[in-house]
Protein backbone atom coordinates (compact mmCIF):
# COMPACT_ATOMS: atom_id res chain seq x y z
CA UNK A 1 0.00 0.00 0.00
CA UNK A 2 1.38 3.37 -0.94
CA UNK A 3 1.73 5.89 1.79
CA UNK A 4 -0.05 9.21 1.24
CA UNK A 5 2.88 11.15 2.50
CA UNK A 6 6.49 10.55 1.57
CA UNK A 7 9.86 12.15 2.02
CA UNK A 8 12.37 12.55 -0.79
CA UNK A 9 15.91 12.36 0.49
CA UNK A 10 18.62 13.30 -1.98
CA UNK A 11 22.14 11.85 -1.82
CA UNK A 12 25.09 12.61 -4.01
CA UNK A 13 27.14 9.47 -3.61
CA UNK A 14 26.24 5.83 -4.19
CA UNK A 15 28.27 4.49 -1.25
CA UNK A 16 26.57 6.97 1.09
CA UNK A 17 23.24 5.91 -0.37
CA UNK A 18 23.98 2.22 0.22
CA UNK A 19 24.89 2.86 3.85
CA UNK A 20 21.76 5.00 4.24
CA UNK A 21 19.51 2.28 2.81
CA UNK A 22 20.86 -0.24 5.28
CA UNK A 23 20.35 2.17 8.18
CA UNK A 24 16.83 3.18 7.16
CA UNK A 25 15.88 -0.48 6.72
CA UNK A 26 17.36 -1.29 10.11
CA UNK A 27 15.17 1.39 11.69
CA UNK A 28 12.16 -0.32 10.10
CA UNK A 29 11.10 2.49 7.80
CA UNK A 30 9.52 1.59 4.50
CA UNK A 31 11.51 2.60 1.41
CA UNK A 32 9.03 3.10 -1.42
CA UNK A 33 11.46 3.59 -4.26
CA UNK A 34 14.97 4.72 -5.10
CA UNK A 35 15.92 6.66 -8.23
CA UNK A 36 19.53 6.51 -9.36
CA UNK A 37 21.37 7.75 -12.45
CA UNK A 38 23.05 4.36 -12.90
CA UNK A 39 22.56 0.83 -11.55
CA UNK A 40 23.99 0.63 -8.04
CA UNK A 41 25.40 -2.80 -7.39
CA UNK A 42 23.76 -4.63 -4.48
CA UNK A 43 21.04 -2.00 -4.01
CA UNK A 44 18.24 -4.46 -4.74
CA UNK A 45 19.50 -6.80 -2.04
CA UNK A 46 19.93 -3.99 0.46
CA UNK A 47 16.36 -2.82 -0.22
CA UNK A 48 15.08 -6.37 0.21
CA UNK A 49 13.55 -6.54 -3.25
CA UNK A 50 12.55 -9.95 -4.60
CA UNK A 51 15.20 -11.37 -6.94
CA UNK A 52 14.67 -10.63 -10.61
CA UNK A 53 13.14 -13.29 -12.85
CA UNK A 54 14.44 -11.72 -16.05
CA UNK A 55 17.08 -14.47 -16.40
CA UNK A 56 14.35 -17.11 -16.55
CA UNK A 57 12.50 -15.23 -19.27
CA UNK A 58 15.78 -14.85 -21.12
CA UNK A 59 16.32 -18.62 -21.05
CA UNK A 60 12.79 -19.24 -22.32
CA UNK A 61 13.19 -16.68 -25.09
CA UNK A 62 16.45 -18.36 -26.08
CA UNK A 63 14.60 -21.68 -26.35
CA UNK A 64 12.00 -20.01 -28.56
CA UNK A 65 14.76 -18.57 -30.77
CA UNK A 66 16.42 -21.97 -31.08
CA UNK A 67 13.11 -23.57 -32.06
CA UNK A 68 12.37 -20.85 -34.60
CA UNK A 69 15.82 -21.31 -36.15
CA UNK A 70 15.38 -25.08 -36.44
CA UNK A 71 11.89 -24.86 -37.94
CA UNK A 72 12.90 -22.04 -40.26
CA UNK A 73 16.02 -23.75 -41.63
CA UNK A 74 14.16 -27.02 -41.94
CA UNK A 75 11.50 -25.30 -44.03
CA UNK A 76 13.85 -23.21 -46.16
CA UNK A 77 16.69 -25.61 -46.82
CA UNK A 78 15.14 -29.07 -46.53
CA UNK A 79 11.41 -28.92 -47.30
CA UNK A 80 10.59 -25.94 -49.47
CA UNK A 81 13.59 -25.68 -51.75
CA UNK A 82 16.26 -28.30 -51.03
CA UNK A 83 19.64 -27.12 -52.24
CA UNK A 84 22.86 -28.89 -52.98
CA UNK A 85 25.53 -26.88 -51.23
CA UNK A 86 29.05 -28.27 -51.06
CA UNK A 87 27.83 -31.64 -52.31
CA UNK A 88 25.55 -32.28 -49.35
CA UNK A 89 22.07 -32.78 -50.82
CA UNK A 90 20.97 -35.20 -48.15
CA UNK A 91 17.42 -33.90 -47.69
CA UNK A 92 17.80 -34.52 -43.99
CA UNK A 93 17.95 -31.82 -41.36
CA UNK A 94 20.04 -33.87 -38.99
CA UNK A 95 22.71 -34.71 -41.55
CA UNK A 96 23.02 -31.06 -42.56
CA UNK A 97 22.81 -29.84 -38.99
CA UNK A 98 26.39 -28.55 -38.58
CA UNK A 99 25.73 -26.03 -41.36
CA UNK A 100 22.77 -24.65 -39.42
CA UNK A 101 24.47 -24.36 -36.03
CA UNK A 102 25.64 -20.76 -36.57
CA UNK A 103 22.07 -19.76 -37.48
CA UNK A 104 20.66 -21.63 -34.49
CA UNK A 105 23.16 -19.87 -32.25
CA UNK A 106 22.52 -16.41 -33.68
CA UNK A 107 18.74 -16.64 -33.48
CA UNK A 108 18.93 -17.95 -29.92
CA UNK A 109 20.99 -14.92 -28.93
CA UNK A 110 18.83 -12.56 -30.98
CA UNK A 111 15.57 -13.71 -29.43
CA UNK A 112 16.95 -13.84 -25.91
CA UNK A 113 18.48 -10.36 -26.09
CA UNK A 114 15.71 -8.46 -27.84
CA UNK A 115 12.77 -10.03 -26.07
CA UNK A 116 14.53 -9.63 -22.74
CA UNK A 117 14.95 -5.90 -23.32
CA UNK A 118 11.32 -5.54 -24.39
CA UNK A 119 10.19 -7.52 -21.34
CA UNK A 120 12.28 -5.31 -19.11
CA UNK A 121 10.72 -2.14 -20.51
CA UNK A 122 7.19 -3.49 -20.25
CA UNK A 123 7.72 -4.77 -16.73
CA UNK A 124 9.17 -1.41 -15.71
CA UNK A 125 6.16 0.27 -17.34
CA UNK A 126 8.26 2.23 -19.79
CA UNK A 127 7.09 2.89 -23.30
CA UNK A 128 7.57 5.69 -25.83
CA UNK A 129 6.04 9.10 -24.98
CA UNK A 130 5.33 8.06 -21.44
CA UNK A 131 5.50 10.86 -18.89
CA UNK A 132 8.46 10.31 -16.59
CA UNK A 133 7.66 9.07 -13.08
CA UNK A 134 10.97 10.38 -11.96
CA UNK A 135 10.31 13.00 -9.25
CA UNK A 136 13.52 14.96 -9.69
CA UNK A 137 15.42 15.37 -12.99
CA UNK A 138 18.71 15.50 -11.11
CA UNK A 139 18.50 11.74 -10.57
CA UNK A 140 19.27 11.34 -14.26
CA UNK A 141 22.49 13.28 -13.76
CA UNK A 142 24.45 12.88 -10.54
CA UNK A 143 21.99 12.62 -7.63
CA UNK A 144 20.31 9.72 -5.88
CA UNK A 145 16.80 9.99 -4.50
CA UNK A 146 15.30 7.79 -1.80
CA UNK A 147 11.56 7.89 -1.28
CA UNK A 148 10.52 6.88 2.25
CA UNK A 149 6.97 6.53 3.55
CA UNK A 150 5.95 8.94 6.30
CA UNK A 151 3.42 7.98 8.95
CA UNK A 152 3.34 11.03 11.19
CA UNK A 153 6.97 10.55 12.23
CA UNK A 154 8.40 13.47 10.25
CA UNK A 155 10.74 14.75 12.93
CA UNK A 156 12.31 11.43 13.74
CA UNK A 157 12.64 10.57 10.06
CA UNK A 158 14.23 13.83 9.02
CA UNK A 159 16.85 13.63 11.75
CA UNK A 160 17.60 10.01 10.80
CA UNK A 161 17.94 10.85 7.11
CA UNK A 162 20.11 13.88 7.81
CA UNK A 163 22.32 11.64 9.89
CA UNK A 164 22.75 9.19 7.01
CA UNK A 165 24.15 11.96 4.82
CA UNK A 166 21.15 13.20 2.85
CA UNK A 167 21.96 16.56 1.30
CA UNK A 168 18.33 17.59 0.83
CA UNK A 169 14.94 16.57 2.27
CA UNK A 170 11.54 17.25 0.80
CA UNK A 171 8.24 16.15 2.35
CA UNK A 172 5.51 15.55 -0.21
CA UNK A 173 1.80 14.96 0.13
CA UNK A 174 1.00 12.48 -2.60
CA UNK A 175 -2.72 13.22 -2.41
CA UNK A 176 -2.07 16.76 -3.60
CA UNK A 177 -0.18 15.76 -6.67
CA UNK A 178 -2.78 13.29 -7.90
Amino acid sequence: MEASKVVHAIYNDDDVLMAAVKKVKAEKHHIEEIYTPFPVHGLDKAMGLAPTRIAITSFLYGCVGLTVAILMMNFIMIKDWPQDIGGKPSFSYLENMPAFVPIMFELTVFFAAHLMVITFYLRSRMWPFKKAENPDPRTTDDHFLMEVAVHGNEKELSSLLKETGAVELKFIDKEDTH
Binding site: A55, G86, G87, K88, P98, A99, V101
Partner: protein, 458 residues
Protein backbone atom coordinates in the same frame (compact mmCIF):
# COMPACT_ATOMS: atom_id res chain seq x y z
CA UNK B 1 47.79 -20.64 7.92
CA UNK B 2 49.59 -23.82 7.17
CA UNK B 3 48.56 -27.02 5.56
CA UNK B 4 50.23 -30.36 5.83
CA UNK B 5 49.29 -33.29 3.68
CA UNK B 6 47.28 -35.69 5.80
CA UNK B 7 48.45 -39.26 6.14
CA UNK B 8 45.18 -40.47 4.72
CA UNK B 9 45.62 -38.42 1.57
CA UNK B 10 49.24 -39.53 1.28
CA UNK B 11 48.20 -43.16 1.63
CA UNK B 12 45.37 -42.72 -0.86
CA UNK B 13 47.68 -41.24 -3.47
CA UNK B 14 50.26 -44.00 -2.96
CA UNK B 15 47.54 -46.65 -3.24
CA UNK B 16 46.37 -44.99 -6.45
CA UNK B 17 49.90 -45.02 -7.83
CA UNK B 18 50.32 -48.72 -6.99
CA UNK B 19 46.92 -49.63 -8.45
CA UNK B 20 47.83 -47.60 -11.49
CA UNK B 21 51.14 -49.38 -11.89
CA UNK B 22 49.34 -52.72 -11.67
CA UNK B 23 46.82 -51.63 -14.29
CA UNK B 24 49.49 -50.31 -16.64
CA UNK B 25 51.70 -53.39 -16.30
CA UNK B 26 48.70 -55.63 -16.81
CA UNK B 27 47.99 -53.69 -19.99
CA UNK B 28 51.51 -54.24 -21.33
CA UNK B 29 51.54 -57.90 -20.28
CA UNK B 30 48.13 -58.53 -21.75
CA UNK B 31 48.94 -56.94 -25.09
CA UNK B 32 52.06 -59.07 -25.45
CA UNK B 33 49.99 -62.21 -25.33
CA UNK B 34 49.68 -61.64 -29.01
CA UNK B 35 53.14 -62.08 -30.38
CA UNK B 36 52.58 -63.12 -33.96
CA UNK B 37 50.12 -62.73 -36.75
CA UNK B 38 48.86 -66.24 -36.03
CA UNK B 39 47.81 -65.26 -32.51
CA UNK B 40 45.80 -62.42 -33.98
CA UNK B 41 44.15 -64.77 -36.49
CA UNK B 42 42.94 -66.88 -33.59
CA UNK B 43 41.68 -63.77 -31.80
CA UNK B 44 39.84 -62.45 -34.84
CA UNK B 45 38.23 -65.81 -35.48
CA UNK B 46 37.10 -65.89 -31.85
CA UNK B 47 35.72 -62.37 -32.04
CA UNK B 48 33.85 -63.14 -35.23
CA UNK B 49 32.32 -66.06 -33.37
CA UNK B 50 31.31 -64.35 -30.17
CA UNK B 51 30.93 -60.83 -31.47
CA UNK B 52 32.45 -59.50 -28.28
CA UNK B 53 34.83 -56.56 -27.91
CA UNK B 54 32.93 -53.33 -27.50
CA UNK B 55 29.70 -53.97 -29.25
CA UNK B 56 31.08 -53.33 -32.70
CA UNK B 57 31.71 -56.44 -34.66
CA UNK B 58 35.27 -56.31 -35.86
CA UNK B 59 36.66 -59.55 -37.12
CA UNK B 60 34.83 -60.56 -40.24
CA UNK B 61 33.06 -57.26 -40.70
CA UNK B 62 36.11 -55.34 -39.92
CA UNK B 63 37.91 -56.13 -43.13
CA UNK B 64 35.14 -54.39 -45.04
CA UNK B 65 35.04 -51.15 -43.07
CA UNK B 66 38.77 -51.04 -42.96
CA UNK B 67 38.98 -51.21 -46.70
CA UNK B 68 36.55 -48.30 -47.10
CA UNK B 69 38.48 -46.17 -44.67
CA UNK B 70 41.60 -46.94 -46.61
CA UNK B 71 39.91 -46.05 -49.84
CA UNK B 72 39.51 -42.39 -48.90
CA UNK B 73 43.10 -42.02 -48.09
CA UNK B 74 44.08 -43.73 -51.32
CA UNK B 75 41.99 -41.21 -53.22
CA UNK B 76 43.74 -38.40 -51.47
CA UNK B 77 47.33 -39.11 -52.22
CA UNK B 78 47.43 -42.34 -54.06
CA UNK B 79 49.09 -44.33 -51.35
CA UNK B 80 48.29 -46.66 -48.55
CA UNK B 81 45.71 -45.81 -45.89
CA UNK B 82 46.68 -44.07 -42.69
CA UNK B 83 46.61 -47.27 -40.69
CA UNK B 84 49.19 -48.79 -42.94
CA UNK B 85 51.97 -47.88 -40.62
CA UNK B 86 54.58 -49.91 -42.39
CA UNK B 87 53.98 -49.54 -46.05
CA UNK B 88 51.46 -51.07 -48.41
CA UNK B 89 52.07 -54.70 -47.93
CA UNK B 90 50.78 -55.24 -44.41
CA UNK B 91 48.01 -57.70 -43.86
CA UNK B 92 44.96 -56.92 -41.83
CA UNK B 93 46.21 -59.20 -39.04
CA UNK B 94 49.47 -57.29 -38.85
CA UNK B 95 47.56 -54.03 -38.39
CA UNK B 96 45.53 -55.53 -35.61
CA UNK B 97 48.67 -56.86 -33.95
CA UNK B 98 50.19 -53.38 -34.00
CA UNK B 99 47.02 -51.81 -32.65
CA UNK B 100 46.97 -54.32 -29.80
CA UNK B 101 50.58 -53.48 -28.99
CA UNK B 102 49.94 -49.74 -29.26
CA UNK B 103 47.08 -49.70 -26.79
CA UNK B 104 48.98 -49.75 -23.45
CA UNK B 105 51.38 -47.10 -24.76
CA UNK B 106 48.60 -44.84 -25.97
CA UNK B 107 46.62 -45.36 -22.76
CA UNK B 108 49.66 -44.40 -20.69
CA UNK B 109 50.26 -41.36 -22.86
CA UNK B 110 46.65 -40.14 -22.65
CA UNK B 111 46.69 -40.37 -18.83
CA UNK B 112 50.06 -38.64 -18.56
CA UNK B 113 49.08 -35.86 -20.92
CA UNK B 114 45.74 -35.26 -19.20
CA UNK B 115 47.27 -34.53 -15.81
CA UNK B 116 50.17 -32.58 -17.27
CA UNK B 117 47.69 -30.47 -19.22
CA UNK B 118 45.82 -29.55 -16.04
CA UNK B 119 49.00 -28.23 -14.45
CA UNK B 120 50.04 -26.28 -17.54
CA UNK B 121 46.55 -24.81 -17.88
CA UNK B 122 46.71 -23.60 -14.28
CA UNK B 123 50.15 -22.10 -14.90
CA UNK B 124 48.71 -20.04 -17.77
CA UNK B 125 45.73 -19.01 -15.65
CA UNK B 126 48.07 -17.98 -12.84
CA UNK B 127 50.22 -15.91 -15.20
CA UNK B 128 47.11 -14.18 -16.53
CA UNK B 129 46.10 -13.23 -12.97
CA UNK B 130 49.48 -11.57 -12.46
CA UNK B 131 49.70 -9.95 -15.87
CA UNK B 132 46.21 -8.48 -15.58
CA UNK B 133 46.76 -7.62 -11.89
CA UNK B 134 43.42 -9.22 -11.11
CA UNK B 135 42.05 -8.18 -7.75
CA UNK B 136 39.75 -11.09 -7.04
CA UNK B 137 42.12 -14.03 -7.27
CA UNK B 138 45.21 -13.58 -5.04
CA UNK B 139 43.58 -15.61 -2.25
CA UNK B 140 43.74 -18.58 -4.61
CA UNK B 141 47.40 -18.12 -5.61
CA UNK B 142 48.78 -20.76 -3.27
CA UNK B 143 46.33 -23.34 -4.58
CA UNK B 144 47.38 -22.50 -8.13
CA UNK B 145 51.06 -22.61 -7.26
CA UNK B 146 50.60 -26.03 -5.70
CA UNK B 147 48.91 -27.38 -8.83
CA UNK B 148 51.65 -26.00 -11.08
CA UNK B 149 54.20 -27.96 -9.02
CA UNK B 150 53.07 -30.96 -11.08
CA UNK B 151 53.78 -29.16 -14.38
CA UNK B 152 57.49 -29.98 -14.52
CA UNK B 153 57.40 -33.70 -13.58
CA UNK B 154 54.23 -34.12 -15.64
CA UNK B 155 55.77 -32.59 -18.75
CA UNK B 156 58.96 -34.61 -18.39
CA UNK B 157 56.91 -37.80 -18.08
CA UNK B 158 54.93 -37.00 -21.23
CA UNK B 159 58.08 -36.30 -23.21
CA UNK B 160 59.78 -39.43 -21.86
CA UNK B 161 56.83 -41.64 -22.81
CA UNK B 162 56.81 -40.08 -26.28
CA UNK B 163 60.52 -40.70 -26.74
CA UNK B 164 60.38 -44.17 -25.20
CA UNK B 165 57.58 -45.20 -27.55
CA UNK B 166 59.94 -44.49 -30.44
CA UNK B 167 63.04 -46.06 -28.90
CA UNK B 168 62.19 -48.79 -26.38
CA UNK B 169 58.79 -49.42 -27.94
CA UNK B 170 58.01 -50.18 -31.53
CA UNK B 171 56.88 -46.70 -32.65
CA UNK B 172 53.68 -47.27 -30.71
CA UNK B 173 52.39 -43.70 -30.61
CA UNK B 174 54.09 -41.69 -33.33
CA UNK B 175 54.37 -43.45 -36.66
CA UNK B 176 56.61 -40.73 -38.06
CA UNK B 177 59.34 -41.94 -35.69
CA UNK B 178 59.57 -45.16 -37.68
CA UNK B 179 62.16 -44.76 -40.49
CA UNK B 180 60.52 -47.57 -42.43
CA UNK B 181 57.22 -45.71 -42.53
CA UNK B 182 58.86 -42.47 -43.56
CA UNK B 183 60.66 -44.24 -46.39
CA UNK B 184 57.34 -45.16 -48.03
CA UNK B 185 55.47 -42.00 -47.18
CA UNK B 186 55.92 -38.88 -49.30
CA UNK B 187 53.85 -36.71 -47.00
CA UNK B 188 55.87 -37.49 -43.89
CA UNK B 189 59.09 -37.12 -45.87
CA UNK B 190 57.98 -33.58 -46.68
CA UNK B 191 57.49 -32.85 -43.00
CA UNK B 192 60.58 -34.62 -41.75
CA UNK B 193 62.42 -31.32 -41.30
CA UNK B 194 60.12 -30.73 -38.36
CA UNK B 195 59.03 -34.25 -37.48
CA UNK B 196 62.25 -36.00 -36.58
CA UNK B 197 63.38 -37.39 -33.28
CA UNK B 198 66.24 -34.95 -32.68
CA UNK B 199 64.28 -31.76 -33.17
CA UNK B 200 61.29 -33.27 -31.37
CA UNK B 201 63.44 -33.75 -28.28
CA UNK B 202 65.14 -30.35 -28.60
CA UNK B 203 61.81 -28.56 -28.93
CA UNK B 204 60.38 -30.53 -26.01
CA UNK B 205 63.30 -29.55 -23.82
CA UNK B 206 62.96 -25.88 -24.80
CA UNK B 207 59.23 -25.86 -24.05
CA UNK B 208 59.59 -27.58 -20.70
CA UNK B 209 62.55 -25.52 -19.53
CA UNK B 210 60.79 -22.28 -20.45
CA UNK B 211 57.68 -23.20 -18.51
CA UNK B 212 59.65 -24.57 -15.58
CA UNK B 213 61.81 -21.44 -15.35
CA UNK B 214 58.72 -19.24 -15.15
CA UNK B 215 57.10 -21.48 -12.59
CA UNK B 216 60.29 -21.53 -10.49
CA UNK B 217 60.77 -17.78 -10.40
CA UNK B 218 57.13 -16.80 -10.01
CA UNK B 219 56.81 -19.15 -7.05
CA UNK B 220 60.05 -17.75 -5.58
CA UNK B 221 58.91 -14.13 -5.95
CA UNK B 222 55.47 -14.97 -4.64
CA UNK B 223 56.91 -16.44 -1.45
CA UNK B 224 59.47 -13.66 -1.11
CA UNK B 225 56.62 -11.15 -1.35
CA UNK B 226 54.97 -12.65 1.76
CA UNK B 227 57.32 -10.92 4.17
CA UNK B 228 58.60 -8.05 2.02
CA UNK B 229 58.17 -4.39 2.91
CA UNK B 230 57.85 -3.21 -0.66
CA UNK B 231 56.24 -4.49 -3.86
CA UNK B 232 59.44 -5.29 -5.70
CA UNK B 233 58.74 -9.01 -5.95
CA UNK B 234 55.20 -8.39 -7.06
CA UNK B 235 56.41 -6.12 -9.84
CA UNK B 236 58.95 -8.68 -10.95
CA UNK B 237 56.22 -11.29 -11.04
CA UNK B 238 54.08 -8.99 -13.14
CA UNK B 239 56.87 -8.57 -15.67
CA UNK B 240 57.88 -12.23 -15.97
CA UNK B 241 54.21 -13.25 -16.19
CA UNK B 242 53.62 -10.99 -19.16
CA UNK B 243 56.76 -12.37 -20.80
CA UNK B 244 55.79 -15.93 -20.01
CA UNK B 245 52.37 -15.55 -21.60
CA UNK B 246 53.97 -14.60 -24.90
CA UNK B 247 56.34 -17.58 -24.68
CA UNK B 248 53.50 -19.84 -23.57
CA UNK B 249 51.09 -19.14 -26.38
CA UNK B 250 53.73 -19.97 -28.99
CA UNK B 251 55.14 -23.00 -27.24
CA UNK B 252 51.75 -24.38 -26.19
CA UNK B 253 50.68 -24.28 -29.80
CA UNK B 254 53.84 -25.99 -31.02
CA UNK B 255 53.65 -28.49 -28.18
CA UNK B 256 50.16 -29.45 -29.28
CA UNK B 257 51.38 -30.07 -32.85
CA UNK B 258 54.32 -32.10 -31.61
CA UNK B 259 52.82 -34.07 -28.77
CA UNK B 260 49.29 -34.56 -30.07
CA UNK B 261 48.62 -33.56 -33.66
CA UNK B 262 51.60 -35.50 -35.02
CA UNK B 263 50.02 -38.82 -34.01
CA UNK B 264 48.09 -38.29 -37.24
CA UNK B 265 51.09 -37.13 -39.26
CA UNK B 266 49.16 -36.63 -42.50
CA UNK B 267 46.53 -34.45 -40.99
CA UNK B 268 46.74 -30.91 -39.76
CA UNK B 269 44.46 -28.23 -38.43
CA UNK B 270 45.53 -24.63 -38.01
CA UNK B 271 43.54 -23.98 -34.86
CA UNK B 272 44.63 -27.15 -33.11
CA UNK B 273 46.84 -25.28 -30.65
CA UNK B 274 43.93 -23.11 -29.54
CA UNK B 275 41.71 -26.11 -29.25
CA UNK B 276 44.13 -27.92 -26.94
CA UNK B 277 44.61 -24.67 -25.02
CA UNK B 278 40.87 -24.40 -24.35
CA UNK B 279 40.84 -27.96 -23.09
CA UNK B 280 43.76 -27.46 -20.71
CA UNK B 281 42.45 -24.10 -19.54
CA UNK B 282 39.02 -25.36 -18.55
CA UNK B 283 40.41 -28.52 -16.91
CA UNK B 284 42.93 -26.42 -14.99
CA UNK B 285 40.33 -23.96 -13.72
CA UNK B 286 38.07 -26.86 -12.75
CA UNK B 287 40.84 -28.42 -10.68
CA UNK B 288 41.50 -25.07 -8.95
CA UNK B 289 37.82 -24.99 -8.01
CA UNK B 290 37.79 -28.61 -6.81
CA UNK B 291 40.91 -28.27 -4.64
CA UNK B 292 39.70 -24.94 -3.23
CA UNK B 293 36.35 -26.47 -2.28
CA UNK B 294 38.13 -29.48 -0.76
CA UNK B 295 40.38 -27.28 1.38
CA UNK B 296 37.45 -25.11 2.40
CA UNK B 297 35.55 -28.19 3.50
CA UNK B 298 38.52 -28.98 5.76
CA UNK B 299 38.07 -25.58 7.42
CA UNK B 300 41.12 -24.08 5.71
CA UNK B 301 41.03 -21.13 3.31
CA UNK B 302 38.40 -19.31 5.37
CA UNK B 303 39.34 -16.15 3.44
CA UNK B 304 37.90 -17.70 0.28
CA UNK B 305 34.24 -16.77 0.07
CA UNK B 306 31.28 -17.75 -2.10
CA UNK B 307 32.12 -15.09 -4.63
CA UNK B 308 35.49 -16.68 -5.40
CA UNK B 309 33.82 -20.04 -6.00
CA UNK B 310 31.22 -18.23 -8.09
CA UNK B 311 33.94 -16.66 -10.23
CA UNK B 312 35.73 -19.96 -10.76
CA UNK B 313 32.43 -21.58 -11.75
CA UNK B 314 31.81 -18.72 -14.16
CA UNK B 315 35.17 -19.48 -15.75
CA UNK B 316 34.28 -23.19 -15.93
CA UNK B 317 31.06 -22.27 -17.67
CA UNK B 318 32.58 -19.71 -20.00
CA UNK B 319 35.65 -21.68 -21.04
CA UNK B 320 33.49 -24.78 -21.63
CA UNK B 321 31.59 -22.75 -24.18
CA UNK B 322 34.86 -21.39 -25.57
CA UNK B 323 36.09 -24.97 -25.97
CA UNK B 324 32.91 -25.89 -27.83
CA UNK B 325 33.30 -22.88 -30.08
CA UNK B 326 36.79 -24.01 -31.08
CA UNK B 327 35.78 -27.67 -31.37
CA UNK B 328 32.92 -26.70 -33.63
CA UNK B 329 34.98 -24.25 -35.68
CA UNK B 330 37.43 -27.03 -36.40
CA UNK B 331 34.73 -29.60 -37.07
CA UNK B 332 32.38 -27.54 -39.20
CA UNK B 333 35.00 -26.23 -41.62
CA UNK B 334 36.42 -29.68 -42.21
CA UNK B 335 32.98 -31.28 -42.46
CA UNK B 336 31.76 -28.61 -44.86
CA UNK B 337 34.71 -28.54 -47.23
CA UNK B 338 34.88 -32.35 -47.16
CA UNK B 339 38.44 -32.54 -48.50
CA UNK B 340 39.50 -36.20 -48.23
CA UNK B 341 42.83 -35.73 -46.48
CA UNK B 342 41.21 -33.48 -43.88
CA UNK B 343 37.92 -35.20 -43.33
CA UNK B 344 39.52 -38.59 -42.71
CA UNK B 345 40.28 -37.37 -39.17
CA UNK B 346 36.61 -37.05 -38.31
CA UNK B 347 35.59 -40.09 -40.36
CA UNK B 348 37.72 -42.33 -38.18
CA UNK B 349 36.27 -40.77 -35.05
CA UNK B 350 32.64 -40.88 -36.08
CA UNK B 351 32.96 -44.39 -37.48
CA UNK B 352 34.74 -46.05 -34.56
CA UNK B 353 34.40 -43.59 -31.67
CA UNK B 354 30.79 -42.55 -31.81
CA UNK B 355 30.17 -42.82 -28.10
CA UNK B 356 33.28 -41.02 -26.77
CA UNK B 357 33.23 -38.50 -29.61
CA UNK B 358 29.63 -37.34 -29.16
CA UNK B 359 29.64 -38.22 -25.46
CA UNK B 360 32.41 -35.72 -24.82
CA UNK B 361 30.37 -33.05 -26.59
CA UNK B 362 27.50 -33.69 -24.18
CA UNK B 363 29.83 -33.71 -21.17
CA UNK B 364 31.91 -30.71 -22.15
CA UNK B 365 29.21 -28.51 -23.60
CA UNK B 366 25.57 -29.39 -22.99
CA UNK B 367 26.06 -30.49 -19.40
CA UNK B 368 28.04 -27.45 -18.13
CA UNK B 369 25.84 -25.16 -20.22
CA UNK B 370 22.64 -26.32 -18.56
CA UNK B 371 23.98 -27.05 -15.08
CA UNK B 372 26.14 -23.99 -14.54
CA UNK B 373 23.86 -21.49 -16.27
CA UNK B 374 21.98 -20.49 -13.15
CA UNK B 375 23.86 -17.87 -11.16
CA UNK B 376 22.88 -19.28 -7.76
CA UNK B 377 24.06 -22.80 -8.55
CA UNK B 378 27.58 -21.51 -9.16
CA UNK B 379 27.84 -20.77 -5.44
CA UNK B 380 26.78 -24.20 -4.21
CA UNK B 381 29.97 -26.21 -3.59
CA UNK B 382 28.59 -29.70 -4.22
CA UNK B 383 27.03 -28.47 -7.42
CA UNK B 384 30.34 -27.08 -8.65
CA UNK B 385 32.07 -30.33 -7.64
CA UNK B 386 29.60 -32.49 -9.57
CA UNK B 387 29.87 -30.28 -12.64
CA UNK B 388 33.65 -30.24 -12.28
CA UNK B 389 33.93 -34.03 -12.20
CA UNK B 390 31.87 -34.34 -15.37
CA UNK B 391 33.96 -31.64 -17.08
CA UNK B 392 37.19 -33.40 -16.13
CA UNK B 393 35.91 -36.77 -17.40
CA UNK B 394 34.82 -35.01 -20.58
CA UNK B 395 38.25 -33.53 -21.15
CA UNK B 396 39.94 -36.85 -20.44
CA UNK B 397 37.76 -38.22 -23.24
CA UNK B 398 38.83 -35.28 -25.37
CA UNK B 399 42.49 -36.28 -25.07
CA UNK B 400 41.46 -39.91 -25.56
CA UNK B 401 39.74 -38.96 -28.81
CA UNK B 402 42.83 -37.12 -29.97
CA UNK B 403 45.32 -39.96 -29.40
CA UNK B 404 43.49 -43.29 -29.60
CA UNK B 405 42.04 -43.21 -33.14
CA UNK B 406 45.51 -42.74 -34.58
CA UNK B 407 47.09 -45.52 -32.55
CA UNK B 408 44.56 -48.29 -31.93
CA UNK B 409 41.83 -47.34 -34.44
CA UNK B 410 38.82 -49.50 -33.53
CA UNK B 411 40.54 -51.58 -30.84
CA UNK B 412 39.75 -49.11 -28.08
CA UNK B 413 38.20 -49.70 -24.73
CA UNK B 414 38.39 -47.94 -21.39
CA UNK B 415 39.77 -50.82 -19.39
CA UNK B 416 42.72 -51.72 -17.20
CA UNK B 417 45.47 -49.87 -19.12
CA UNK B 418 43.44 -46.66 -19.45
CA UNK B 419 42.09 -46.59 -15.90
CA UNK B 420 45.49 -47.71 -14.64
CA UNK B 421 47.17 -44.74 -16.33
CA UNK B 422 44.58 -42.38 -14.83
CA UNK B 423 45.16 -43.84 -11.35
CA UNK B 424 48.92 -43.76 -11.73
CA UNK B 425 49.18 -40.13 -12.83
CA UNK B 426 46.20 -39.05 -10.75
CA UNK B 427 47.90 -40.44 -7.66
CA UNK B 428 51.18 -38.79 -8.56
CA UNK B 429 49.35 -35.53 -9.23
CA UNK B 430 47.59 -35.57 -5.85
CA UNK B 431 50.79 -36.47 -4.04
CA UNK B 432 52.88 -33.71 -5.62
CA UNK B 433 50.15 -31.05 -5.49
CA UNK B 434 49.18 -31.55 -1.88
CA UNK B 435 52.80 -31.82 -0.76
CA UNK B 436 53.53 -28.53 -2.52
CA UNK B 437 50.48 -27.05 -0.81
CA UNK B 438 52.08 -27.78 2.55
CA UNK B 439 55.32 -26.00 1.69
CA UNK B 440 54.04 -22.43 1.99
CA UNK B 441 51.37 -20.55 3.94
CA UNK B 442 47.95 -20.84 2.30
CA UNK B 443 47.51 -17.08 2.06
CA UNK B 444 49.86 -15.02 -0.10
CA UNK B 445 49.67 -12.33 2.54
CA UNK B 446 52.27 -9.97 1.07
CA UNK B 447 50.49 -9.58 -2.23
CA UNK B 448 49.40 -5.94 -2.58
CA UNK B 449 46.01 -7.09 -3.92
CA UNK B 450 45.29 -9.44 -1.05
CA UNK B 451 42.98 -7.06 0.85
CA UNK B 452 40.91 -6.46 -2.25
CA UNK B 453 40.79 -10.17 -2.90
CA UNK B 454 39.68 -11.00 0.64
CA UNK B 455 36.88 -8.48 0.39
CA UNK B 456 35.93 -9.58 -3.06
CA UNK B 457 32.20 -9.57 -3.25
CA UNK B 458 29.97 -10.12 -6.18
Amino acid sequence: MEYTISNRLKMASIVLIILGLIGVSYGFWDSHHYKTVDDVKVLLAEEAHHGDGHGEAHGADHGGTHATAGHHEADAHGESDEHAEEGHHMSHEEHVLHQIHNRPWAALYVGAFFFFMIALGVLAFYAIQYASQAGWSPVLFRVMEAITAYMFPGAVIVLLIAVASGTIGHYNIFTWMDPEVVEHDKLIQGKSGWLNMTSFVIRGVIFISGWALYRHFSRKFSIAQDNADDNKNFKKNFRISAGFLVFYIYTESMMSWDWIMSVDPHWFSTLFGWYVFASMFVSGITVIALITIYLKSKGLLEFVNDSHIHDLAKFMFGISIFWTYLWFSQFMLIWYSNIPEEVTYFMTRIEYYKLPFFGMLAMNFIFPLLVLMNSDYKRIPWFVVMAGIIILCGHYLDVFNMIMPATVVDRWFIGAPELGAVCLFGGLFLFIVFRALGKAPLLAKGNPMIKESEHFHY
